[in-house]
Amino acid sequence: MSTVAAKEEYNYDIVKFCVLTGIVMGVIGTAVGTYIASELAYPWLNLDIAEISFGRLRPVHTNTVIFGFGGFLLYGAGFYMVQHSTHARLRFEKLAWAAVALWLISMICMWITLPLGMTQSKEYHEPEWWIDLMMAVSWVFMTIVYLATIANRKMSHIYIANWFFMTMLFMVTYIFTFNGMCIPVDMTFSYSAYAGIHDAMTQWWWGHNAVGFFLTAGFIGVMYYFVPKHANRPIYSYRLSVLHFWSLTFLYVWVGAHHLHYTAIPDWTLSLGAGMSVALIFPSWGGMINGMMTMSGAWDKLRTDPVMRFMVVALAFYGMSTFEGPLMGTKSVNALSHYTDWTVGHVHSGALGWNAMIAIGAMYHMITRMWNTEMASAKLINMHFWVHLTGAVLYITAMWGSGVLQGLMWRAFDSYGNLVYTFADSVAAMHPFYALRAFGGFLVFVGFCIMLYNTLKTVSAVKAGSNVALSAAAKA
């Protein structure tokens, strides 16, 4: 067994930058989200300005939270845990900084171009081709740094967290590149390289695996390092991690078709995707169970440690959304849920419940370890937890309610066989749910503001030397 390299030998500067940027992205992304949610409830809020209308700002929101907040968490936590779990300093540090810089520049370009209406119109892949290129180059740089650091590891085995991270790095490179294939016309416009149903299939092959690899495999990797580390418990089952790693990786790539049920895609393709979606429940739950069981013997931490609470509740939400997803992937349920807010509710039980909470937990963990300090206020972490959780639950339940109501209104017939409701009737019925959702989103935004405040206070206390150093037990 190798000895842990002295912590001073790790490159923390880049991690610190990513974590702080990630928190700021969280604040911006949820602010834009709250604004567009309010636009749906109160349409006059778009002030008749095209650049800030829902259609233009929605992709700004999704890209900022997924690739801004989620991306900087993955870069930061990735650089942190690859060093810790290999006991080796980051390789090619300049390349790593270039990756981070390119990613940030891409985000800024995205903020400018999307409101101006420059878009590839592919969901979760909206920014134009030249921004795509910057993101792809950044990602490849990140991949090189990651692999090279793992190659330098001081032990023979590669930790499970790194397996998950590596599949993410490979798969995202692959699917992002193929979905992004296009013929540029100028800086503001390009044509997709695919047409018709091929375009649609490629888009959702990407769309679902952005969820499957970026938001799942990558974040499961983060979970596999930060949960046992923070709980100070060994991973519950090595075999379970191997089984669910391979089954998850194998199954995810098939299921994109469930985003296209009852469309022009051939029926058998959709059945293929629906079947694999259902089989995906247990491979997904493998990660949740392994994380939860790792907690055994450390459950008392939930009472005292709000950071642990973030992580455990994240796992619960992960279990819930990976049960709901396969359900929605079957044709009979999808016939009701498709095109409704139910999908949006599902997304946010994944995004606000699972991704955001595990990310927030990992960020608090890294901040205290890297600056070797307690957070300035434990009360504020606790408050962040409750505000975030309340916001997420309000959001999700509002969207379930409106989604199911919408689905039922669209398919209601009277005894003559005539539709009962107009589309506008269903829009009017959404209003209370949209208002509630906007409020839930606002709470999540407030949570991020609390986190940013607490973090800035912590860092400035460290600079001033007035902080409380991290206890030796936590450092171990």
Partner: protein
């Protein structure tokens, strides 16, 4: 609980940054669920069409574009044996339909009369078509009956009128409400008077409120232009002001015109304005000011009645002045391409029954 999670035994011996892994087997219930899931997919793929196979391609017509597309070969699944949809068993292409496609420019069609209409075998899409067909079957009797009735007959028949009004709810909501309001009440847009839309529930009509005329409006669409200054460039600003005052007075009742265009009230104040009106405006709005329909100034359709208190664009002095000085143009889109004849008939009934319907052409 914690005895099988004891850090002192049962570990793989690997360690990273203090994290170790235990050698526990996965929980039994998880393992069962895992295998159950795999069994489920296997059965699912046997039952439903799901697997690409090189068993021949099939040409089908895409229902949306009318173009011929190839459907890949694939396994048909047990569903094809136990439950084939009526669509699959029944509908085949007729020569007339194929000629229709060819006439539309799809000359390359290789499909023959008697070929199956949809992808053969059970598919979820065919199942959905069956569900839609069930609902259409409920409607079909009524729709067929409607096709042979005039709008007047529908209005007279309680059951058919109720069916038509029920069906019109969504037809009107999805096609017309965006402009005419959800209840047909129209809008007066104060900030942008040009974006106002007429009220269909009152008895004030631009083109006519009897069912045939309404159906004609919906089918053909309407475009009416009120030219700037009535098309008379010689009108001065002062002329426009006095015409605006005159028009508002006609509406309020402090001025009135008979059918020959002579003032029967307000003669002292509006004599000169009426001269301008009869010169420039009467051609469209009629000598009495009652508009093209009632005043039957048949040179131009859609010119509003200026003597009632109902305004198409707004009756405050500022808006009326703006209407006269700068003109207005209203466009009612044509629905001939979008809605079939029966739907248009149903809508004509709906609008007639809003309350302001006329029984016949008032000028006849």
């Amino acid at each position: 609980m914690s005895d099988h999670n004891d850090p002192n035994d049962n570990s793989t011996g690997h360690e990273w940054d203090g994290i170790r892994e235990l050698n526990n087997p996965p929980p039994k219930w998880w393992a069962w669920g895992f295998y159950l899931g795999l069994t489920f997919v296997t059965l699912y793929y046997i039952i439903y069409p799901s697997t690409p196979l090189n068993n021949g391609f099939q040409k089908v017509i895409n229902g949306v574009t009318g173009m011929e597309v190839l459907v890949d070969g694939h396994s048909k699944g047990i569903m094809a044996m136990v439950n084939s949809n009526p669509y699959y068993k029944g509908e085949t292409w007729t020569q007339a339909e194929i000629d229709g496609f060819k006439a539309k420019g799809h000359a390359e069609l290789s499909i023959k009369a008697g070929d199956l209409k949809y992808q053969d075998g059970w598919t979820a899409i065919n199942e959905m078509r069956d569900d839609v067909a069930d609902i259409e079957a409920v409607r079909a009797g009524y729709i067929e009956k409607l096709a042979g009735m005039s709008a007047q007959q529908i209005i007279a028949d309680d059951e058919m009128r109720n069916f038509a009004l029920g069906r019109a709810r969504v037809l009107f909501g999805d096609n017309c409400a965006a402009c005419h309001g959800s209840g047909g009440q129209g809008t007066l847009n104060k900030a942008h008077p040009g974006n106002s839309f007429p009220n269909l529930t009152d008895d004030d009509w631009l083109y006519g409120g009897w069912t045939d005329k309404i159906a004609e409006t919906i089918t053909e669409g309407r475009e009416a232009e009120m030219p700037a200054k009535g098309g008379n460039d010689e009108l001065t600003d002062a002329n426009v002001d006095s015409l605006a005052q005159f028009v508002v007075a006609l509406s309020e009742g402090s001025a009135a015109l008979n059918d020959d265009g002579n003032l029967t009230r307000g003669a002292s104040t509006f004599a000169s304005a009426n001269v301008l009106f009869q010169e420039t405006c009467a051609a469209c709005h009629s000598a009495s000011g009652k508009g093209s329909l009632i005043g039957s100034a048949d040179s131009y359709g859609g010119a509003a009645n200026l003597t009632d208190s109902i305004w198409r664009f707004g009756g405050d002095m500022k808006t009326v002045r703006d209407t006269i000085a700068n003109g207005r143009k209203g466009t009612m889109p044509s629905f001939a391409e979008k809605l079939d004849e029966t739907s248009i008939k149903i809508l004509a009934v709906r609008i007639h029954q809003f309350g302001g319907g006329m029984n016949s052409d008032p000028t006849e």
